[in-house]
């Protein structure tokens, strides 16, 4: 069963003093997120990621279309008890301490009074903030606030998590910890829907991704499928600092690093290149087919509109 079904969700804002100018923030969006998967929602800044999340959270109302989470409408309070949400660059009631804030959210989420204290302590430990008891949130760093944000999202043991740029503001160790936490959540059977513009995070974590740009969905798929298309090229790596003349004529690009050379040649020229290297008694280290990275796929998906935008201007 799909955990999240987005059925033609779209949003147009009216802007200007008289609110007569329409600005399309999201074109009709269609895709599903299956239960138990980590789903990456990718796009550059201003692509429509946060708008989509706000629509799913019921913070803004769609101009058209609808969505269902766990089979229920997005404004259903019973459904909201089963989801967790981390907004982008979260800001909390800064006059509260972290345990007070989480206690408040536990109350609003309907966590049983007996369990609240235990759950608050548990999630604070889980996000690496076990000893922040009496400190008000106004004294927290950006990274600590992000951790509190993650804690409040997972506090009530939700089935589906919506995380808007969860790695934002975290140092490398913090990012690693969040990645580990997301993997743990997946192992616990939770569905994680997260937006990011950092592709390495998506590539290392996601089962599937969707790419959005200028409010338009550009592609959805399994990360491995998107990145597995062979480009008809191979990367040949050998030891030494010599590039035989025969190889130079075949290669599209080569790089010399220390005593290692990397050259990309067309698949058809692979054998000829290997022969040339052997003739010069150069030790071949590896021959690997060149595959599309998520970044290349992402850039390719974004390019058509940019070209069109350029043509319009």
């Amino acid at each position: 069963m799909a955990a999240i079904e987005i059925l033609g969700l779209e949003k147009t804002y009216t802007v200007g003093f008289w609110r007569k100018r329409a600005k399309c923030a999201l074109r009709p969006l269609h895709f599903n997120v299956e239960e138990g998967e980590i789903f990456g929602f990718l796009g550059p800044n201003g692509a429509g990621k946060t708008t989509t999340l706000k629509l799913l959270m019921g913070l803004v109302f769609p101009t058209g279309g609808t969505a269902r989470i766990l089979g229920r409408e997005i404004n259903d309070p019973a459904m909201k008890a089963q989801i967790g949400f981390l907004p982008e660059q979260p800001y909390f009631y800064d006059y509260l301490t972290a345990p007070e804030l989480l206690e408040y959210y536990a109350q609003l989420s309907g966590v049983a009074p007996k369990e609240r204290g235990r759950k608050v302590g548990e999630v604070l430990g889980r996000v690496g903030l076990p000893d922040v008891g009496g400190v008000q949130l106004r004294k927290f760093s950006k990274g600590m606030l992000q951790r509190v944000g993650i804690a409040q999202a997972i506090l009530h043991d939700p089935k589906v998590l919506f995380l808007d740029e969860p790695m934002s503001g975290l140092d490398p160790i913090g990012r690693r910890e969040v990645r580990d936490l997301m993997e743990q959540l997946k192992q616990e059977g939770k569905t994680v829907f997260f937006s990011t513009h950092i592709l390495s995070d998506a590539e290392s974590l996601c089962d599937r991704v969707a790419i959005i740009h200028l409010g338009e969905l550009r592609g959805v798929g399994v990360v491995a499928d998107l990145t597995s298309s062979v480009e008809g090229k191979v990367e040949v790596v050998w030891q030494g600092n010599l590039v035989p003349a025969a190889v130079k004529t075949m290669t599209t690009e080569y790089h010399l690093t220390g005593d290692t050379v990397r050259a990309v040649v067309l698949e058809g020229n692979q054998d000829a290149a290997i022969d040339a290297l052997r003739r010069d008694r150069l030790r071949i280290i590896s021959i690997i087919p060149v595959r599309t990275s998520l970044e290349e796929y992402f850039v390719r998906k974004l390019k058509p509109s940019e070209a069109a935008a350029g043509a319009r201007s």
Partner: protein, 258 residues
């Protein structure tokens, strides 16, 4: 009542306390102490009148300032700072949030008024050796002041649900001033002719009637307050604040939180 409303109300109260809103009590205490000592020295026979007038006017003014300046930011601040996102993404309905916020600020004002009332009675005890039976009407005047707070809080909340804090403050303060002269407005409507009469009458009924809720002067002179007035004022304030609150809920239910 939904328990979520109580949690939101308590958090609003806690915010006011932690933001040192109740520190106004210190200023009030200084004012009342100074007034009591000064009045005791310069007034002969009218100490009670001056202390009650000054004390109740100060209770009203301090409370109104708190109601307007906190009320106008109740919703807009939550939207600007995006603290609302993590509340409304939980099983909290928008109307529960508005009602919780209203009750939280109303609770803050009631607590504030209780402390100030203690100050007024302490000052009264300082200038006259013992309480009189007529002093119980001061409690009624304080009750009417609280009813005024409920109305102005609901208005501030209404404006906060769709407008910027600055405009909300202007609207709320304007209505407070106009409402304080609502009796004069009704008098003007009775004298006016044609369209002016209709407009003035409509305005007189639309703006909050703070004139009827102001019995400070008569209470200061030891005059009793009719039980019928207590009942009608209570009904008026509850219905008026309730309707305004419904308006705030309707607006907020349809608002996109950008």
């Amino acid at each position: 009542m939904s328990s979520r409303i109580a949690y939101i109300a308590f958090n609003t109260f806690r915010e006011a306390v932690r933001d040192r809103v109740l520190y106004n009590l210190v200023a009030f205490a200084v004012l009342m102490s100074g007034a009591a000592i000064l009045v005791g020295q310069i007034s002969i026979g009218i100490e009670r009148l001056v202390v009650v007038n000054l004390g109740l006017a100060a209770v009203s003014l301090f409370g109104m300032v708190i109601a307007i300046f906190i009320g106008i930011a109740l919703v807009s601040k939550e939207i600007d700072k995006r603290t609302l996102y993590t509340v409304l993404s939980r099983p909290v309905q928008r109307w529960e949030f508005i009602v919780g916020k209203f009750l939280g600020l109303a609770g803050t004002l009631v607590v504030n008024t209780v402390f100030m009332a203690v100050g007024v009675f302490a000052a009264l005890l300082y200038v006259s050796p013992h309480f009189q039976v007529a002093d119980t009407w001061i409690l009624v005047a304080l009750y009417f002041i609280v009813l005024q707070f409920l109305i102005i809080t609901s208005l501030a909340l209404l404006f906060s649900s769709f407008s910027s804090p600055l405009l909300s403050a202007v609207f709320a303060f304007s209505l407070f001033v106009i409402g304080s002269f609502s009796e004069d407005l009704r008098g003007f409507a009775a004298l006016a002719q044609g369209a002016t009469r209709w407009l003035a009458t409509a305005a007189a009924y639309l703006v909050p009637d703070f004139s009827s809720l102001n019995v400070i002067s008569s209470v200061a002179h030891g005059q009793p307050v009719a039980s019928q007035l207590i009942l009608s004022n209570t009904l008026y304030a509850v219905v008026y604040a309730g309707m305004i609150l419904c308006g705030a809920v309707v607006i907020f239910e349809h608002r996109n939180l950008k």
